[in-house]
Symmetry: C2
Protein backbone atom coordinates (compact mmCIF):
# COMPACT_ATOMS: atom_id res chain seq x y z
CA UNK A 1 0.00 0.00 0.00
CA UNK A 2 1.52 3.36 -0.95
CA UNK A 3 2.24 5.93 1.79
CA UNK A 4 -0.37 8.60 2.49
CA UNK A 5 0.10 12.33 3.08
CA UNK A 6 -2.87 14.47 4.13
CA UNK A 7 -3.13 18.09 2.97
CA UNK A 8 -5.13 19.77 5.73
CA UNK A 9 -6.20 23.28 6.67
CA UNK A 10 -9.18 25.49 7.30
CA UNK A 11 -11.73 26.03 4.52
CA UNK A 12 -10.40 28.42 1.84
CA UNK A 13 -6.84 28.09 3.18
CA UNK A 14 -5.59 26.82 -0.17
CA UNK A 15 -5.61 23.02 0.16
CA UNK A 16 -6.85 22.52 -3.40
CA UNK A 17 -4.29 25.01 -4.71
CA UNK A 18 -1.50 23.09 -3.00
CA UNK A 19 -2.82 19.77 -4.32
CA UNK A 20 -2.89 21.29 -7.81
CA UNK A 21 0.78 22.24 -7.55
CA UNK A 22 2.09 19.21 -5.68
CA UNK A 23 0.57 16.57 -7.95
CA UNK A 24 2.33 17.75 -11.15
CA UNK A 25 5.61 18.33 -9.28
CA UNK A 26 5.61 14.74 -7.96
CA UNK A 27 4.60 13.43 -11.38
CA UNK A 28 7.45 15.41 -12.95
CA UNK A 29 9.77 13.52 -10.61
CA UNK A 30 8.46 10.22 -11.91
CA UNK A 31 6.04 9.26 -9.15
CA UNK A 32 2.56 7.90 -9.78
CA UNK A 33 0.14 9.86 -7.63
CA UNK A 34 -3.32 8.82 -6.40
CA UNK A 35 -5.54 11.34 -4.62
CA UNK A 36 -8.36 11.22 -2.09
CA UNK A 37 -10.99 13.87 -1.45
CA UNK A 38 -13.54 13.81 1.35
CA UNK A 39 -17.06 14.96 0.56
CA UNK A 40 -19.78 15.35 3.15
CA UNK A 41 -22.75 14.50 0.92
CA UNK A 42 -23.70 11.39 -1.02
CA UNK A 43 -22.73 11.60 -4.67
CA UNK A 44 -23.51 9.69 -7.79
CA UNK A 45 -22.12 8.82 -11.17
CA UNK A 46 -23.59 10.61 -14.12
CA UNK A 47 -22.87 8.57 -17.19
CA UNK A 48 -24.61 8.68 -20.56
CA UNK A 49 -27.03 5.77 -20.80
CA UNK A 50 -26.97 5.33 -17.06
CA UNK A 51 -30.44 3.84 -16.83
CA UNK A 52 -29.39 0.92 -18.96
CA UNK A 53 -26.70 -0.28 -16.58
CA UNK A 54 -27.64 0.99 -13.16
CA UNK A 55 -26.86 -2.13 -11.17
CA UNK A 56 -27.28 -0.17 -7.95
CA UNK A 57 -31.03 -0.21 -8.47
CA UNK A 58 -30.82 -4.00 -8.51
CA UNK A 59 -28.83 -4.00 -5.28
CA UNK A 60 -25.20 -4.16 -6.36
CA UNK A 61 -23.10 -2.63 -3.61
CA UNK A 62 -19.95 -2.32 -5.69
CA UNK A 63 -20.29 -1.18 -9.29
CA UNK A 64 -17.39 -1.00 -11.70
CA UNK A 65 -17.63 0.78 -15.03
CA UNK A 66 -14.96 0.04 -17.57
CA UNK A 67 -14.06 1.96 -20.73
CA UNK A 68 -10.88 1.86 -22.84
CA UNK A 69 -9.84 5.15 -21.19
CA UNK A 70 -10.83 4.90 -17.55
CA UNK A 71 -12.35 2.69 -14.91
CA UNK A 72 -14.77 3.86 -12.23
CA UNK A 73 -15.90 2.10 -9.09
CA UNK A 74 -18.66 3.06 -6.68
CA UNK A 75 -19.07 1.14 -3.45
CA UNK A 76 -21.59 1.66 -0.66
CA UNK A 77 -20.06 2.16 2.78
CA UNK A 78 -21.65 2.55 6.19
CA UNK A 79 -19.31 5.12 7.73
CA UNK A 80 -16.75 7.79 6.89
CA UNK A 81 -13.62 5.87 5.94
CA UNK A 82 -10.19 6.97 7.14
CA UNK A 83 -7.41 7.62 4.62
CA UNK A 84 -5.85 4.27 5.60
CA UNK A 85 -9.17 2.50 4.92
CA UNK A 86 -9.55 4.38 1.64
CA UNK A 87 -6.05 3.42 0.54
CA UNK A 88 -7.28 -0.17 0.04
CA UNK A 89 -9.07 1.11 -3.07
CA UNK A 90 -5.70 2.07 -4.56
CA UNK A 91 -4.83 -1.24 -6.19
CA UNK A 92 -2.82 0.08 -9.12
CA UNK A 93 0.88 0.76 -9.21
CA UNK A 94 0.97 4.07 -7.32
CA UNK A 95 3.83 5.53 -5.29
CA UNK A 96 1.97 7.95 -3.03
CA UNK A 97 -1.56 8.91 -2.03
CA UNK A 98 -2.29 12.59 -1.42
CA UNK A 99 -5.45 13.03 0.65
CA UNK A 100 -7.15 16.44 0.74
CA UNK A 101 -8.60 16.99 4.20
CA UNK A 102 -8.75 14.39 7.00
CA UNK A 103 -7.25 16.66 9.64
CA UNK A 104 -8.03 14.10 12.36
CA UNK A 105 -6.14 11.36 10.56
CA UNK A 106 -3.01 9.90 12.12
CA UNK A 107 -1.23 9.95 8.76
CA UNK A 108 1.56 12.49 8.11
CA UNK A 109 0.01 15.89 7.44
CA UNK A 110 0.92 19.11 5.68
CA UNK A 111 -1.18 22.05 6.83
CA UNK A 112 -1.96 25.00 4.62
CA UNK A 113 -2.21 28.24 6.60
CA UNK A 114 -3.28 31.75 5.67
CA UNK A 115 -2.93 34.58 8.14
CA UNK A 116 -6.41 35.98 7.39
CA UNK A 117 -8.15 32.60 7.78
CA UNK A 118 -7.19 31.68 11.34
CA UNK A 119 -4.92 29.52 13.43
CA UNK A 120 -3.55 26.10 12.53
CA UNK A 121 -6.03 23.25 12.98
CA UNK A 122 -3.55 20.41 13.38
CA UNK A 123 -0.81 21.78 15.56
CA UNK A 124 1.26 20.00 16.64
CA UNK A 125 0.18 16.38 16.12
CA UNK A 126 1.65 14.71 13.08
CA UNK A 127 2.45 17.87 11.15
CA UNK A 128 5.40 17.25 8.86
CA UNK A 129 5.27 20.73 7.31
CA UNK A 130 3.27 23.94 7.08
CA UNK A 131 2.63 25.93 3.93
CA UNK A 132 2.04 29.46 5.17
CA UNK A 133 1.88 33.06 4.05
CA UNK A 134 3.44 34.28 7.29
CA UNK A 135 6.35 33.08 9.44
CA UNK A 136 5.12 30.93 12.35
CA UNK A 137 6.85 30.08 15.60
CA UNK A 138 7.08 26.36 14.91
CA UNK A 139 9.74 23.73 14.81
CA UNK A 140 8.20 22.03 11.75
CA UNK A 141 9.48 23.06 8.30
CA UNK A 142 7.65 26.02 6.74
CA UNK A 143 7.20 26.78 3.07
CA UNK A 144 5.44 29.35 0.97
CA UNK A 145 2.89 28.27 -1.64
CA UNK A 146 5.63 28.89 -4.21
CA UNK A 147 8.18 26.58 -2.52
CA UNK A 148 6.71 23.50 -4.19
CA UNK A 149 10.07 22.07 -5.17
CA UNK A 150 11.38 22.29 -1.60
CA UNK A 151 8.17 20.75 -0.23
CA UNK A 152 8.42 17.92 -2.77
CA UNK A 153 12.04 17.39 -1.64
CA UNK A 154 10.78 16.97 1.92
CA UNK A 155 8.10 14.49 0.81
CA UNK A 156 10.65 12.52 -1.18
CA UNK A 157 13.00 12.38 1.78
CA UNK A 158 10.54 11.73 4.61
CA UNK A 159 7.74 9.81 2.90
CA UNK A 160 9.18 8.22 -0.21
CA UNK A 161 12.50 7.33 1.41
CA UNK A 162 14.62 8.91 -1.27
CA UNK A 163 18.14 10.08 -0.49
CA UNK A 164 18.46 13.54 -2.00
CA UNK A 165 21.77 15.29 -2.51
Amino acid sequence: MPPIVCIVGRPKSGKTTLMGRLIPELKRRGYRVATIKHITHRFDLDVPGKDSWDHSQAGSECIILSSPHNVALIENVDHDLSPAELARFVTGDFDIVLAEGFKKSDQPKIEVHRRDIGELVCLPQGLMAVVTDEPLELVVPQFSMNDISELADLIERNILGKCLR
Copy 2:
Protein backbone atom coordinates in the same frame (compact mmCIF):
# COMPACT_ATOMS: atom_id res chain seq x y z
CA MET B 1 -10.43 -12.39 -5.50
CA PRO B 2 -14.10 -13.36 -5.87
CA PRO B 3 -15.17 -15.53 -8.82
CA ILE B 4 -16.48 -13.82 -11.95
CA VAL B 5 -19.47 -14.73 -14.10
CA CYS B 6 -20.09 -12.86 -17.35
CA ILE B 7 -23.64 -12.24 -18.57
CA VAL B 8 -23.31 -12.07 -22.34
CA GLY B 9 -25.59 -11.85 -25.35
CA ARG B 10 -26.47 -9.76 -28.37
CA PRO B 11 -27.63 -6.17 -27.89
CA LYS B 12 -31.24 -6.02 -26.60
CA SER B 13 -31.19 -9.71 -25.73
CA GLY B 14 -31.97 -8.97 -22.07
CA LYS B 15 -28.58 -8.91 -20.32
CA THR B 16 -29.54 -5.97 -18.12
CA THR B 17 -32.89 -7.58 -17.29
CA LEU B 18 -31.12 -10.75 -16.19
CA MET B 19 -28.60 -8.76 -14.12
CA GLY B 20 -31.52 -6.97 -12.48
CA ARG B 21 -33.08 -10.28 -11.43
CA LEU B 22 -29.92 -12.21 -10.56
CA ILE B 23 -28.40 -9.58 -8.27
CA PRO B 24 -31.33 -9.46 -5.80
CA GLU B 25 -31.71 -13.27 -5.89
CA LEU B 26 -28.05 -13.78 -4.94
CA LYS B 27 -28.31 -11.05 -2.30
CA ARG B 28 -31.41 -12.77 -0.87
CA ARG B 29 -29.25 -15.86 -0.46
CA GLY B 30 -26.74 -13.89 1.57
CA TYR B 31 -24.05 -13.22 -1.02
CA ARG B 32 -22.37 -9.86 -1.48
CA VAL B 33 -22.45 -9.02 -5.17
CA ALA B 34 -20.16 -6.68 -7.12
CA THR B 35 -20.93 -5.85 -10.75
CA ILE B 36 -18.97 -4.76 -13.80
CA LYS B 37 -20.30 -3.00 -16.88
CA HIS B 38 -18.34 -2.28 -20.02
CA ILE B 39 -18.86 1.07 -21.72
CA THR B 40 -17.33 2.02 -25.04
CA HIS B 41 -16.95 5.76 -24.41
CA ARG B 42 -14.98 7.75 -21.86
CA PHE B 43 -17.11 8.81 -18.92
CA ASP B 44 -16.80 11.20 -16.06
CA LEU B 45 -18.00 11.77 -12.54
CA ASP B 46 -20.58 14.45 -12.06
CA VAL B 47 -20.39 15.57 -8.47
CA PRO B 48 -21.68 18.81 -6.95
CA GLY B 49 -18.75 21.17 -6.44
CA LYS B 50 -16.63 19.19 -8.85
CA ASP B 51 -14.39 22.08 -9.84
CA SER B 52 -13.18 22.40 -6.29
CA TRP B 53 -11.72 18.90 -6.11
CA ASP B 54 -10.95 17.88 -9.65
CA HIS B 55 -7.52 16.40 -9.06
CA SER B 56 -7.56 14.96 -12.58
CA GLN B 57 -6.89 18.43 -13.95
CA ALA B 58 -3.73 18.47 -11.85
CA GLY B 59 -2.68 15.09 -13.21
CA SER B 60 -3.91 12.58 -10.63
CA GLU B 61 -4.40 9.27 -12.39
CA CYS B 62 -6.39 7.67 -9.60
CA ILE B 63 -8.98 9.79 -7.79
CA ILE B 64 -10.95 8.58 -4.80
CA LEU B 65 -13.97 10.44 -3.48
CA SER B 66 -15.18 9.53 -0.03
CA SER B 67 -18.49 10.31 1.64
CA PRO B 68 -20.16 8.72 4.69
CA HIS B 69 -22.42 6.81 2.26
CA ASN B 70 -20.28 5.76 -0.66
CA VAL B 71 -16.80 5.79 -2.10
CA ALA B 72 -15.95 6.38 -5.74
CA LEU B 73 -12.72 5.78 -7.58
CA ILE B 74 -11.74 6.82 -11.09
CA GLU B 75 -8.51 5.59 -12.58
CA ASN B 76 -7.04 6.23 -16.01
CA VAL B 77 -6.21 3.12 -18.01
CA ASP B 78 -4.55 2.65 -21.39
CA HIS B 79 -6.58 -0.27 -22.72
CA ASP B 80 -9.85 -2.14 -22.32
CA LEU B 81 -9.40 -4.21 -19.18
CA SER B 82 -10.59 -7.81 -19.00
CA PRO B 83 -12.98 -8.90 -16.24
CA ALA B 84 -10.04 -10.55 -14.46
CA GLU B 85 -8.07 -7.28 -14.60
CA LEU B 86 -11.11 -5.34 -13.43
CA ALA B 87 -11.64 -7.69 -10.50
CA ARG B 88 -8.54 -6.20 -8.83
CA PHE B 89 -10.67 -3.13 -8.14
CA VAL B 90 -12.99 -5.25 -6.00
CA THR B 91 -11.15 -4.97 -2.70
CA GLY B 92 -14.14 -5.22 -0.37
CA ASP B 93 -15.63 -8.37 1.07
CA PHE B 94 -17.58 -9.60 -1.96
CA ASP B 95 -18.55 -13.16 -2.84
CA ILE B 96 -19.08 -12.89 -6.58
CA VAL B 97 -18.60 -10.47 -9.46
CA LEU B 98 -21.26 -10.35 -12.16
CA ALA B 99 -19.92 -8.78 -15.35
CA GLU B 100 -22.35 -7.58 -18.00
CA GLY B 101 -20.86 -8.15 -21.43
CA PHE B 102 -17.30 -9.35 -22.14
CA LYS B 103 -18.34 -12.14 -24.49
CA LYS B 104 -14.69 -12.76 -25.45
CA SER B 105 -13.65 -13.29 -21.84
CA ASP B 106 -12.42 -16.69 -20.72
CA GLN B 107 -14.46 -16.45 -17.50
CA PRO B 108 -17.59 -18.61 -17.07
CA LYS B 109 -20.41 -17.12 -19.11
CA ILE B 110 -24.20 -17.14 -19.13
CA GLU B 111 -25.65 -16.13 -22.47
CA VAL B 112 -29.03 -14.47 -22.81
CA HIS B 113 -30.78 -15.46 -26.04
CA ARG B 114 -33.94 -14.27 -27.74
CA ARG B 115 -35.27 -16.01 -30.81
CA ASP B 116 -35.97 -12.75 -32.66
CA ILE B 117 -32.51 -11.28 -31.97
CA GLY B 118 -30.27 -13.91 -33.55
CA GLU B 119 -27.99 -16.83 -32.85
CA LEU B 120 -25.85 -17.31 -29.76
CA VAL B 121 -22.63 -15.30 -29.75
CA CYS B 122 -20.62 -17.47 -27.37
CA LEU B 123 -21.39 -21.00 -28.35
CA PRO B 124 -19.85 -23.22 -27.22
CA GLN B 125 -16.77 -21.84 -25.45
CA GLY B 126 -17.16 -21.39 -21.72
CA LEU B 127 -20.94 -21.25 -21.63
CA MET B 128 -22.19 -22.53 -18.29
CA ALA B 129 -25.84 -21.80 -19.09
CA VAL B 130 -28.19 -20.14 -21.54
CA VAL B 131 -31.22 -18.04 -20.67
CA THR B 132 -33.49 -18.41 -23.66
CA ASP B 133 -37.05 -17.88 -24.87
CA GLU B 134 -36.91 -20.97 -27.06
CA PRO B 135 -35.55 -24.51 -26.57
CA LEU B 136 -32.07 -24.88 -28.10
CA GLU B 137 -30.22 -28.02 -29.14
CA LEU B 138 -27.46 -27.62 -26.59
CA VAL B 139 -25.89 -29.70 -23.86
CA VAL B 140 -25.53 -26.69 -21.54
CA PRO B 141 -28.34 -26.02 -19.04
CA GLN B 142 -31.16 -23.81 -20.34
CA PHE B 143 -33.43 -21.55 -18.35
CA SER B 144 -36.18 -19.08 -19.04
CA MET B 145 -35.91 -15.49 -17.83
CA ASN B 146 -38.29 -16.51 -15.02
CA ASP B 147 -36.14 -19.45 -13.82
CA ILE B 148 -33.97 -17.13 -11.72
CA SER B 149 -34.01 -19.41 -8.70
CA GLU B 150 -32.82 -22.41 -10.73
CA LEU B 151 -30.12 -20.31 -12.39
CA ALA B 152 -28.97 -19.05 -8.99
CA ASP B 153 -28.84 -22.69 -7.81
CA LEU B 154 -26.49 -23.45 -10.71
CA ILE B 155 -24.28 -20.47 -9.87
CA GLU B 156 -24.15 -21.48 -6.22
CA ARG B 157 -23.21 -25.04 -7.15
CA ASN B 158 -20.73 -24.38 -9.99
CA ILE B 159 -19.23 -21.01 -9.08
CA LEU B 160 -19.70 -20.51 -5.36
CA GLY B 161 -18.95 -24.13 -4.47
CA LYS B 162 -22.07 -24.64 -2.42
CA CYS B 163 -23.54 -28.12 -1.95
CA LEU B 164 -27.28 -27.80 -2.55
CA ARG B 165 -29.78 -30.47 -1.64
